[in-house]
């Protein structure tokens, strides 16, 4: 009564043929360049033995240009599910060895089924992009197929984490699927991401350019801000995915993977006192503060190369996963500009969607002045940050380390933006504007008549600083919950977070707000 040998062998034959994908030669060529094949990428992504492939036997649906006679194993994409760190996830990997990983209708259907499954199961989805683009032979069908992927990316957005790895070419319309996901990792070599390539740009505009200039990982990580992480190779990209997932919940109805110990250490950290420079004009690296606050100094910085005046990333405090948002006084004096606003606002939105509490570290002199900023729409962009914070209902803790001036102070989640606690260090300066600027307005007449204008201005500024930007003034008006020594901060945040795990904040029902885009 056993299964007939020939039937069983038939399956094995088909499996072997499908697993061969584009053939040994193409796989060897990739290996020679230090790159992995699509299946190898998924095998390294998932814990050993947990990958369950879906659609191994898929065949393409191209019926023109002689394509009907060709076999495209799996239609150029490998899809399925598996486990990462004990938690399930879905993934797809485009297979460049099969028809250049081009996207046809069946290829797209496999991706769409993967996304649909992730949505239903409430599990993250990871996509490896490595494709020559639309399969031209399938015409408008391929175009529609992209649309179906984009549509699903949007349905999944805010429900399950979506992570894209750009591990090969990703051009034209294809670039928009990763762009709709939460995090993009791109390999430094062998990958490109662009809408119109150098040839098209030259043909249409006459501008001579290079792929490095418009589509490289370096450009996207530092100038455009499109990608969040650069990976040195495929293995590194997978390692970043693993690390990222270690901070993220499987879906928006779950808590992030907190590591709550029954006992909470509330010890002081004197090192934090040491980090604050004497002179308020001397910059310090806000990442050093983050690393002191985060458990084991474990901090995953996101978008490290873009808008470096704002630092964002994940860590844990007292076991609770948090998103850090910090001004970086070492770059552009920590002032908020267009890119910094966009970077922080999107991160705040992500954290709120996925129940990650926010810890905001403030040392901000203001919004960056400049013609470029005003004409570039700093009002529109800065408003995103205000919008993101005000609409976030996750626990929000703000630490005012030093400067907190003007609108930028509010944009860094002041109490008025719904912060649950505001901690100020004794070094905090909180005011509507800097002392020098303020005395020029408040004492305009007196200064005009002063014998030594500069000396009098400095004197008045010192008085103003003492009287009107002191944290005790804000604390007296209850804008600040408490003034703490830097060394007391970590324990205070850890304890506050523990007390906020049950936070519930309801808002009026609506389709969605209208964030200034």
């Amino acid at each position: 009564m056993a299964i007939s040998k020939s039937v069983s062998e038939g399956l094995e034959r088909r499996r072997a043929s499908a697993l061969e994908a584009g053939g040994k030669q193409k796989a060897d060529d990739r290996h020679a360049k230090g790159r992995l094949t699509a299946r190898e990428r998924l095998d390294s992504l998932f814990s050993a033995g947990t990958f369950q492939e879906v659609g191994l036997h898929a065949q393409h649906a191209t019926r023109h240009f002689g394509m009907e006679k060709k076999s495209l194993p799996g239609d150029g994409v490998v899809t399925g599910t598996g486990f990462i760190g004990g938690r399930p996830a879905a993934a797809f990997a485009q297979d460049f060895t099969v028809a250049g990983g081009t996207l046809g209708e069946i290829h797209a259907r496999k991706i769409c089924q993967t996304l649909d499954h992730a949505l239903k199961a409430g599990i993250p989805v990871i996509g490896f992009n490595d494709s020559g683009g639309a399969r031209i032979q399938e015409g408008v069908g391929a175009l529609s197929a992209y649309g179906q992927v984009f549509y699903r990316n949007v349905q999944l957005s805010g429900v399950v984490p979506q992570i894209s790895v750009i591990a090969g070419p990703c051009a034209g319309g294809a670039a928009y699927s990763p762009a709709l996901t939460d995090f993009i990792i791109m390999t430094r070599e062998h990958a490109s991401l662009f809408i119109c390539g150098p040839e098209v740009i030259r043909a249409v505009t006459g501008q001579a350019t290079t792929m490095d200039e418009i589509g490289s990982a370096d450009m996207h990580a530092t100038v455009a801000g499109t990608i969040h992480f650069i990976a040195e190779d495929d293995a590194h990209a997978v390692a970043i995915v693993h690390r990222l997932l270690s901070f993220l919940p499987s879906n928006n109805m779950m808590d992030p993977p907190h590591r709550i110990e029954p006992e909470l250490s509330l010890a002081d950290d004197p090192e934090l006192d040491e980090l604050v420079p004497d002179d308020p004009k001397t910059p310090f690296d806000c990442r050093a503060v983050i690393e002191r606050l985060a458990d084991d100094g474990d901090f995953l910085e996101v978008s490290a190369g873009f808008a470096q005046n704002m630092v964002i990333g994940f860590g844990r405090i007292g076991g609770i996963v948090v998103g850090f948002v910090a001004n970086q006084p070492m770059v552009k004096a920590g002032a908020i500009d267009i890119d910094a606003s966009d970077k922080a606002a999107r991160f705040v939105r992500f954290c709120n969607a996925f129940n990650v509490p926010l810890v905001n570290l403030v040392d901000v002199p203001g919004f960056l002045p400049g013609v470029h900023e005003e004409r570039g729409g700093i009002i529109r962009h800065g408003a995103k940050l205000l919008f993101a914070y005000a609409s976030a209902t996750v626990p929000k803790l703000t630490v005012i380390m030093r400067k907190a001036y003007g609108g930028a102070y509010i944009a860094m989640c002041s109490q008025d933006m719904g912060a649950d606690r505001i901690i100020a260090w004794p070094t905090a300066e909180i005011a509507v504007m800097g002392a020098e600027g303020a005395v020029n307005i408040l004492y305009r007449k007196e200064l005009a008549e002063a014998d030594d204008r500069a000396a009098r201005a400095a004197e008045l500024a010192a008085e103003y600083r003492e009287e009107f930007s002191s944290p005790y003034l804000s604390a007296g008006m209850l804008f600040v919950s408490d003034v703490l020594q830097p060394r007391e901060t970590r324990a205070a945040i850890a304890l506050t977070l523990r007390g906020l795990m049950s936070k519930r904040e309801t808002r009026p029902p609506k389709k969605h707000g209208n964030i200034p885009l």
Partner: protein
């Protein structure tokens, strides 16, 4: 090749203009290779006055035309110059200190090199993108 400085709305752009007699007017000069974060400004030959406002507003303007020029990351006042002409520096070495937005910003060497020119003195106000000094 002709080098021109063009000021658009208070921002100085250094552009290179190439005379292409036989070329059609729509063929612009190759953009100057600026730092990767700087927006390239191309001037269509042969009418350098008609510089398009191509500079992306969010990006630093391409004012650092000289190779090796170290641009100011933001507008401010020079507090201190920590190197002298002829001095060799390693990437990451402090070159000068700017004060801007109530904060000192240290300008570090982007690469190893020798200081060939210092374009600013303490007390000078500088604009974003302005060349502070030049490294060979």
């Amino acid at each position: 090749m002709k080098r021109l400085r063009i000021t658009v709305e208070g921002i100085a752009y250094d552009v290179t203009v190439e005379e292409l007699d036989a070329a059609p007017a729509s063929s612009p000069a190759a953009p100057k290779q600026a730092s990767p974060t700087a927006a390239a400004v191309t001037a269509p030959a042969p009418a350098p006055a008609a510089v398009p406002r191509a500079a992306a507003p969010a990006q630093a303007p391409a004012a650092t035309a000289e190779p090796g020029a170290v641009p100011s990351p933001l507008a401010g006042t020079v507090v201190q110059v920590e190197v002298s002409v002829g001095q060799s520096v390693a990437a990451g070495d402090s070159l000068l200190v700017l004060e801007a937005m109530k904060m000192n910003t240290t300008i570090s060497a982007p690469q190893n090199g020798t200081v060939t020119a210092i374009s600013v003195a303490p007390g000078a106000t500088v604009t974003e993108g302005q060349a502070l000094l030049t490294l060979s």
